[in-house]
């Protein structure tokens, strides 16, 4: 698939879009079926047992995300991990002006690469809290009967707090997707170049530089 399509730039490859869909779908099922376990108005869904099986099936889907990423897009997986934990001076400056980005204003934001500083923080937080929710989930799935009341409540508490963090990150993710009209980008993979020039100017420059290098003299 070409990296450009008229005035559109390819931002998410097909593999990335499929992995995103697997993660989003499994996460929403986990959120809903997990909520049924702890919130009495939804308790009737969990009490029969089927939502708990669904929770486990979705958990397998969620845990498969990093494996799928490595199998189908090793370079992309490496890229997202390294980019998400690497911040430069423009990122620090971006955080200082983050309130403007939250209010939908990008014109005076410091130049950003493929991921802006907020997206880096979002991705790194998702990785950390996903790891903690997976570890505590596996403990409760496989070893609940071996846990003391104290260990069980600590495990459940860390599991719940991890889900709280991920749920808040999801709310923020949906917020920025709505504000910056990004719904279609994860479906088609393409984003308007003019939007990227405003929000991810360093990335556009990088693409143009790569394009110039690849053009025969």
């Amino acid at each position: 698939m070409p990296d450009t399509n008229g005035d559109q730039l390819l931002r998410y490859r097909r593999g990335q879009r499929i992995i995103h869909a697997v993660m989003a779908g499994s996460f929403l099922i986990l959120l809903f079926t997990g909520l049924a376990l702890v919130w009495s108005p939804l308790a009737f869904i969990a009490a029969g047992g089927w939502s708990r099986y669904l929770h486990r099936i979705a958990a397998i889907g969620f845990m498969s995300v990093p494996i799928l990423y490595i199998v189908f897009d090793r370079a992309g997986a490496k890229e997202i991990v390294t980019e998400s934990f690497k911040y430069d001076s423009d990122d620090v400056a971006w955080f200082k002006k983050m309130y403007r980005y939250v209010l939908g204003r990008t014109a005076e934001m410091p130049p950003q690469g493929r991921l802006n500083a907020g997206q880096k923080l979002h991705h790194s937080a998702v990785m950390v809290f996903s790891a903690s929710i997976v570890v505590t989930g596996i403990i409760m799935w496989g070893f609940k009967s071996s846990l003391s009341a104290s260990m069980l409540s600590w495990t459940a508490m860390i599991h719940d707090l991890s889900m709280l963090a991920l749920a808040l990150l999801l709310v923020g993710h949906i917020f920025f997707t709505y504000v910056y009209k990004a719904w279609s980008s994860m479906a088609t993979g393409y984003v308007p170049k003019e939007d990227m020039e405003l929000e991810h100017s360093k990335w556009v420059e990088e693409l143009e530089h790569e394009g110039a290098e690849n053009t025969p003299a």
Partner: protein, 260 residues
């Protein structure tokens, strides 16, 4: 005033009438019961000791099951531990956490004695108390029950030197006061059950409500802010494009908001 059961094990003959009365009175389906009689024997014939453990909810004041129940299906009322099965999600945390190993899972939900809440609420007595032929069971004001338990222990001390009252202080004070002819361990009852862990209270009383509340506030707050921020973004993009048509669209925020 709080209520309690008196269970005098020196009078229990192991007839299981309480088991049957509880099951039929509460109309419990096959496979579900609130009381179980377990026979404990030790020693070598003819020097055998032991008795019947009347396994049922101990109605702890410091109830770990209530502390870990995420939906509030288990709750304290009149000093007793009640269960609203309609609110139970079947997570099984109570089964896992009870120091007396009392709650069981049945039909995907927790199951345990609720001290015949409907019977007692209507002015009656719990089914097991009504039925017990050995007068081993009684139900009433906890202070009176405790006084009677101590009186019974004094009476049987000559015959059972290790006789004791169990439940006055254990787990914050039980709603099931036992008169035991011997040490509790002889009936596999823990002499000093562990208290509810602080983590369970922290999780139930702080983490869960804060999690629910903060998520709701985030959804509501960012929902409103999202409308404002999107208008700003559309206006900014139109400004950048510099087209006259875009400038007109930027003046009408609702058009931009609905074009998602």
């Amino acid at each position: 005033m709080t209520s309690a059961f008196l269970l005098d094990m020196s009078r229990c003959i192991g007839c299981e009438a309480c088991v049957v009365a509880c099951k039929t009175g509460n109309e419990l389906p096959i496979g579900r019961q609130y009381i179980e009689l377990i026979e404990h024997t030790s020693g070598t014939f003819p020097n055998l000791t032991g008795g019947f453990q009347n396994q049922r909810c101990y109605h702890c004041s410091d109830a770990t099951c209530v502390a870990v129940c995420p939906t509030g299906a288990l709750f304290k009322d009149d000093g007793l531990t009640r269960l609203n099965r309609d609110a139970c999600s079947g997570c099984g945390y109570c089964v896992q956490s009870c120091p007396y190993d009392v709650p069981k899972m049945s039909d995907g939900r927790a199951s345990k004695c609720d001290a015949c809440a409907s019977n007692v609420g209507g002015g009656g007595s719990p089914w097991c108390v009504t039925t017990c032929p050995g007068k081993a069971l009684k139900y009433g004001d906890r202070e009176e029950i405790l006084a009677e338990a101590h009186q019974r222990v004094d009476t049987i001390k000559g015959r059972y030197p290790n006789a004791q009252v169990y439940g006055e202080t254990q787990a914050g004070g039980l709603g099931l006061i036992l008169v035991l002819p011997d040490d509790p361990e002889t009936l596999s009852i823990p002499a000093d059950p562990p208290p509810t862990p602080a983590s369970a209270n922290l999780w139930k009383n702080w983490v869960q409500p804060i999690s629910m509340g903060s998520t709701a506030v985030a959804v509501a707050g960012l929902g409103v802010l999202g409308v404002i921020a999107r208008r700003n973004h559309i206006a900014e993009m139109n400004e950048v494009e510099g087209s006259e048509e875009a400038a007109v669209a930027a003046g009408d925020g609702s058009e931009g908001i609905n074009d998602a």
